[in-house]
Symmetry: D2
Subunit: 133 residues, 4 copies
Amino acid sequence: MTVHEMIDHHPRAIALDRELLRRCIDDCFDCAATCTSCADADLGEPDVQEMVRCIRLCLDCADLCTAVGKIVTRQTEIDLGVVRAAVEACAAACLACGDECERHAGHHEHCRICAAVCRRCEQSCRDLAATIG
Amino acid sequence: MTVHEMIDHHPRAIALDRELLRRCIDDCFDCAATCTSCADADLGEPDVQEMVRCIRLCLDCADLCTAVGKIVTRQTEIDLGVVRAAVEACAAACLACGDECERHAGHHEHCRICAAVCRRCEQSCRDLAATIG
Amino acid sequence: MTVHEMIDHHPRAIALDRELLRRCIDDCFDCAATCTSCADADLGEPDVQEMVRCIRLCLDCADLCTAVGKIVTRQTEIDLGVVRAAVEACAAACLACGDECERHAGHHEHCRICAAVCRRCEQSCRDLAATIG
Amino acid sequence: MTVHEMIDHHPRAIALDRELLRRCIDDCFDCAATCTSCADADLGEPDVQEMVRCIRLCLDCADLCTAVGKIVTRQTEIDLGVVRAAVEACAAACLACGDECERHAGHHEHCRICAAVCRRCEQSCRDLAATIG
């Protein structure tokens, strides 16, 4: 994503580990898009009745990933307490959504892909949180 | 907000305390709008250079309040762990933003108002979190 | 909403009709919350299979109302061309969502309420657009 | 982005040109992240007073790109009128933001990059709109 290049030209010092930050930004935006798509694919399935919990958790996860992706992108006057709470909430949403998608991974390929993206985003959020006090 | 009436007609059982839930939904949407407005008013001030931290924290707070307002609105197949992590992150953002706005409350009326809205939303989020295990 | 009070204390001149602006801000945030709730209530209905189009249009409408509510809230360095395009897109989403919710108004009270909120938001967006060139 | 793979496994027929759709989804999410970063980099510049219009337009553009990125990602029960209005609004925001960033491209590298991303997203939105009636 172009946002990496943006951060390389940021006028302020970057307070967080650059490699973990890049991964967290990428994974949050990727997970926001993927969960939006998984909720939509679930809605299009003949067994939508069985996918209700998956849809709900994908919507929650997409909402948090969108917000947290923007928060971790910002480097000016960063508040590490807010960043830590934000990535921890995002990790919790990714965990719940990843678990639910995994239950459907055998019969819905979009759930298998979405589960993997949620796992990766959860890990990136936890890794970034671990570097903050 | 009309969303109260919506929840009164929701087909599923409401797992959370109704009064605390209503306040949390109201306060999250109100705080999202107010922080969006405060960041914008800060940008319009002659002393914008002094308001940079306030703008940044208002943007973070607006992003989290928007996401969390939607998450707490949803009642179908609720995951209480996700809700708790989400409202805790929102409370952290409201705390940081309320503290910063309070520093400017004497010279910017919009910051005084925004600080009060952040305090109220922080409390509503903490009250709802306290009812979840 | 507290955002009215915020705009009364904004440091810059307000370029738009204040009464139409207030209504548009209120209605966008109210419609964002209501459509989020209606999509969620639809998901919780036994006839969810029949509600798929309603859920999809409620999600689109909530996304646009959230974005446009923030855009119309901002008064600093306003670009009227962006505002007009934004409220016109919001009106289009409200029209489609209101029409679909109306089809279910007889059997789902949340759809009846949501249709009315969409109609009102559509009108507020069109009224504001009409004042811009 | 993983969302391409998701759309390849979507249960419903894809109503839009796949190549234009992919580009529009990619460019909306990329532009949302880049504009979020540009507003933040502007805030961190010593000449923030000169960047106020740029910050405001980047925030509007990020909000619309986020909403429209989600709308174009959804393929179930698509409403082409909503999609067209949404991508047209996004193109208008990208045009205004790209023009303003370009004015600062000579002295702020982040604005030069952001202008290019806005131009690309504007074009992708217009190309997709052109395929819809």
